[in-house]
Structures are given as C-alpha cells and as structure tokens.
Symmetry: C2
Subunit: 99 residues, 2 copies
Amino acid sequence: MITEIAQLDIKPGMESEFEEAMKKAVPIFERARGCHGLDLRRSIEKPGHYWLFVAWDTVDDHLLGFRRSPDFQEWRKLVGHCFADSPDVTHADPILSFS
Amino acid sequence: MITEIAQLDIKPGMESEFEEAMKKAVPIFERARGCHGLDLRRSIEKPGHYWLFVAWDTVDDHLLGFRRSPDFQEWRKLVGHCFADSPDVTHADPILSFS
C-alpha cells in the first residue's frame, strides 16, 4: 500500500467551503478502486494550506485508475474552484511505523 | 492530536543507514511525552526524500517538550549525519478521515 501526498493551497476565505466540499467528496474515494482511506489535515503554521493523504494499493490505482475516471472529474468539480494553485502531488512507500 | 510533518533529505547512498538508525530511534519516540505514533515513508518519485509523520497531543509537546529534551539530541545523534539538509518541519490539524 502506498500513500498519495497532496498539498493543496486554498484561496483565502474559501477554507470552510473547501472542507464542506471534501466531506461531500468522501464517497468518491470510498468507492475508488484500490483506495483504502483518506486523511485531510490543515496546516497550523499556514492555515490555507492543506495536506491530503490517500492510501492506495498502487500508484497506478491513483494515476491510471482514479485520475482517468469520471469520479476524478467529479472530485475536481466539487473542490477545484477552491484551489489557489495546482495541487502538488507525490507518492511514498511505508518504511516503518508504530502507534 | 496534531501531526508533525517532517521532510528529510538523506545524503545519497545513506538511505539504508538512515532507515536502520530510525528503527533504533523508535523507543525514543515511544517514550516521548505526548507522542502517540510515528510513520516513516519514503518518496517514490525522489528516493532520497523521506516523510516523517509524528502524532503529538500538542505542538508544544513536540517543540517545547521533545525538542528541548536530551532524547532529541539522542535522536539527532542517531540520524543527523544522514541528513543532506536541515529537515523541513511543520504541523497540521486533523480535518476529516476515513479508513
């Protein structure tokens, strides 16, 4: 399982609208093939900056499956107008963890 | 609970040494006051780049408690020589999640 790490800069004053839209978007990720969870976090130091972490089976599930699906367009329709810039998106493999 | 998000660039060729040192460092985080877990992830697109996510009760538990403790020095002693640059460290609040 890999993690998509997306950094999203939201237009000033649109933070609440973005968070509400993300709540509505949860089912899109719940039904996405290979998607195992999502965490949305908001920067403490820079409040218009958000971190979106999405667990996928593989990078291809994200980039080839989800990105090319109608549901990706659906997600962008819900939240895209809140973005100040293009999201910065990367992926990472797990190395170690405890909780 | 907040998340520390640290980005670590490791000197080329020192990735395995860094990962081994991080394994040794786990007890440091396990015993840190206010620390509830750690995830180390390695970038897929840029393999010398790591993401360290640490769950703390508060930002102060990280910056005032841990950073000023002898255990922080202990951690830097284990891993600091592997860093190519100063880590980029920030913090985020949870907004929504599912798994």
